[in-house]
């Protein structure tokens, strides 16, 4: 059964894909959908949902809906960008450790373990605070704290594949080590890495929202986490200020997780089709 067919049979994954596609569309079309500046005051402050503003206004009279539409851009962008950086770091380190073993592995594993022992979120906060908040520092911070798991995965994949007989055969055929890593091992390790990477985007979006919530977001771009954080002092009176941006985060993260799981089931079919505990 082909990958696409298996993916399409998964209703959750399809639902996730549809939601995700819609969010990506909103993010791309934000300037068209909501041409006005999301930072600009549009009406009276703290208007409840309904009326002129579908999702109400905040304490400065800014349109919540416009904020959510424009916030999609930064959430997705940071999620994808930081994951790409983390995957590149993680896979390189994990691949080297797993493929070469010995002292290379020992050293790299210690490094990975250390980065896993560090309370990652606090480290991210420190990095952003010290590097001064901005897109780059957030991406760097999230990547720096999220690469260890993918390095571990890449390491274990490379390690088990390295001792596989087809790799030994390639060594004996005189294929170079670089080529063995890239052409023999990597293609066989790629599907679990893709799955983990896709799920990491979701985690990155959550981390970004938490950073922004604490006031560490990019001050020039509106984001969902920032909106919730900024409205924290009035959230008891104006519930819509935190509920709607929160829903946007949940929906995005949920959709990505559904798609990621769909990918997992479709790419690793041997893990699927378990009927349950009873035989």
């Amino acid at each position: 059964m082909s990958f696409l067919k298996r993916f399409a049979e998964n209703r959750g994954a399809l639902l996730g894909l549809v939601i995700l596609a819609a969010i990506v569309f909103v993010a791309l079309a934000a300037p068209v959908l909501s041409p006005t500046d999301p930072w600009a005051t549009q009406g009276r402050p703290l208007l409840p949902p309904g009326s002129d503003f579908v999702l109400g206004t905040d304490m400065l009279g800014r349109d919540v809906l416009a904020g959510i539409i424009h916030g999609a851009r930064i959430s997705l962008w940071i999620g994808v960008l930081s994951t790409v950086v983390a995957v590149v770091i993680g896979v390189s380190i994990g691949a080297l450790a797993g493929f070469f073993g010995g002292w290379v592995d020992d050293v790299l594993v210690r490094v990975v373990e250390f980065f896993q022992t560090i309370p990652s979120f606090i480290f991210a906060i420190l990095l952003v605070a010290i590097l001064t908040p901005g897109l780059t520092s957030i991406v760097v911070a999230i990547a720096v704290v999220t690469w260890p798991p993918i390095a571990r995965l890449a390491r274990s994949e490379f390690m088990s594949l390295r001792s596989r007989e087809f790799v030994e055969a390639a060594v004996l055929s005189g294929v170079s080590r670089g080529r063995i890593m890239l052409a023999e091992v990597l293609p066989n390790a790629v599907s679990p890495l893709i799955v983990m990477g896709s799920l990491m985007i979701a985690t990155a979006i959550l981390t970004e929202s938490a950073l922004s919530f604490l006031g560490l977001g990019d001050p020039n771009r509106i984001s969902w986490g920032y909106m919730i954080g900024a409205a924290r002092t009035v959230f008891r009176q104006a519930w819509w200020l935190s509920v709607f941006p929160g829903l946007a985060i949940v929906l995005t993260v949920l959709a990505i997780n559904l798609v990621g799981e769909g990918l997992n089931d479709a790419l690793n079919p041997h893990l699927k089709g378990r009927i349950g505990l009873e035989r």
């Binding site: 420190l126 938490a210 949920l254």
Partner: protein, 325 residues
């Protein structure tokens, strides 16, 4: 003898982590744009030359980098994390003052997650492909996708603002209650919402993990052996499937401990819980880097501690670990 070796191993590990974090802290400060003295002083009197001079001599900032590192290391190892210039107090004192509150919060959340996660996950696995399973998994997926701070805000809206059942912030009532028992109950009432907020995400994680791990374990040969022995299904599920399926979850819980401490910052901020997380948030706003670095170091130590606890648990649960040569 083996226990001793284990303990020594962990002490060494803790020491290495402290050293590494210290060096990392040292580098972070120097990574920051501008004069490190000004960075460390934060917003507290950066303009005051006399004050900056004091900092420079405290940290040997006018000497070579390696000497600076040496001074810094020596300070940290003698439990001197410097001053919070904003608060005019020793960082160590401020941290220790706040430690119990954070330990209470993270410990309760950890316990909450480790009890309910595997429990609900096991139920989902045993009822796999039924309505119960689907319902549980949908709820788990929802909390897995929800930012912690948002859950906190919603819980406050529902349980404090709407229903008025539980206090929305703080660790104790504003007007102190009399008597030890009453005080304890008061703290517990305050603890429920933040602990649940912090724990829910991990409950969701462990529900999903436990279910997957059990379904995976159920396909192993020895489960078939257990059935061939004529054991009742409940016995097969508990003694043979769940028991081994829990091992990866304990391992994972250890790895997640760092996460949990990080999550505490957000939760303590939302609930104004007077712990280290809240301290970090304040320090962040006052650009009080010395304090922030202290928080970082202490939380890393907490993670080492949580890791050690899970490692001990794992040794108890899996006889193969530690005894295999």
């Amino acid at each position: 003898m083996r226990q001793l070796g284990f303990l020594v191993g962990w002490l060494v590990k803790a020491l290495v982590v402290v050293l590494a974090i210290t060096i990392l802290n040292f580098l972070l400060i120097r990574l920051a744009p501008g004069d490190p003295a000004i960075v460390m002083a934060g917003e507290a009197g950066a303009a005051d030359e006399r004050f900056l001079a004091q900092i420079r001599s405290d940290f040997g900032l006018d000497r070579p980098l390696l000497v600076q590192l040496g001074i810094y290391l020596k300070n940290v190892l003698t439990l001197d994390l410097g001053q919070s210039y904003r608060n005019q107090r020793a960082v160590v004192d401020m941290l220790f003052e706040r430690l119990p509150a954070t330990l209470l919060l993270t410990g309760s959340a950890y316990l909450f997650a480790l009890v309910f996660g595997p429990l609900l996950g096991a139920i989902a696995a045993m009822k796999a492909r039924t309505v119960y399973d689907s319902a549980l998994m949908v709820v788990a997926l929802f909390f897995y996708a929800t930012p912690i701070f948002w859950v906190g805000l919603l819980l406050i809206l529902v349980f404090s603002v709407q229903l008025g059942w539980l206090p929305p912030f703080g660790m104790q009532s504003l007007i102190p209650v009399e008597g030890t028992l009453a005080r304890t109950l008061d703290i517990l009432r305050h603890l429920i919402l933040p602990a649940v907020t912090l724990g829910l995400f991990y409950v969701a994680v462990y529900v999903r993990l436990t279910r997957a791990s059990m379904l995976e374990t159920a396909t192993l040969d020895y489960v078939k052996t257990a059935r061939a022995k004529g054991l009742p299904e409940w016995r097969v599920a508990t003694a043979h499937i769940l028991r081994t399926a829990l091992l990866p979850i304990i391992t994972f819980a250890g790895l997640q401990a760092g996460h949990l401490v990080g999550g505490a910052i957000v939760v303590e901020t939302v609930f104004a819980w007077p712990g280290i997380g809240r301290l970090a948030f304040d320090a962040l706003f006052q650009r009080d880097y010395n304090l922030l670095l202290g928080v970082f170091l202490l939380s890393a130590l907490m993670v080492v501690f949580f890791n050690m606890v899970t490692d001990i648990l794992l040794r108890v649960a899996d006889p193969r670990i530690g005894s295999r040569a």
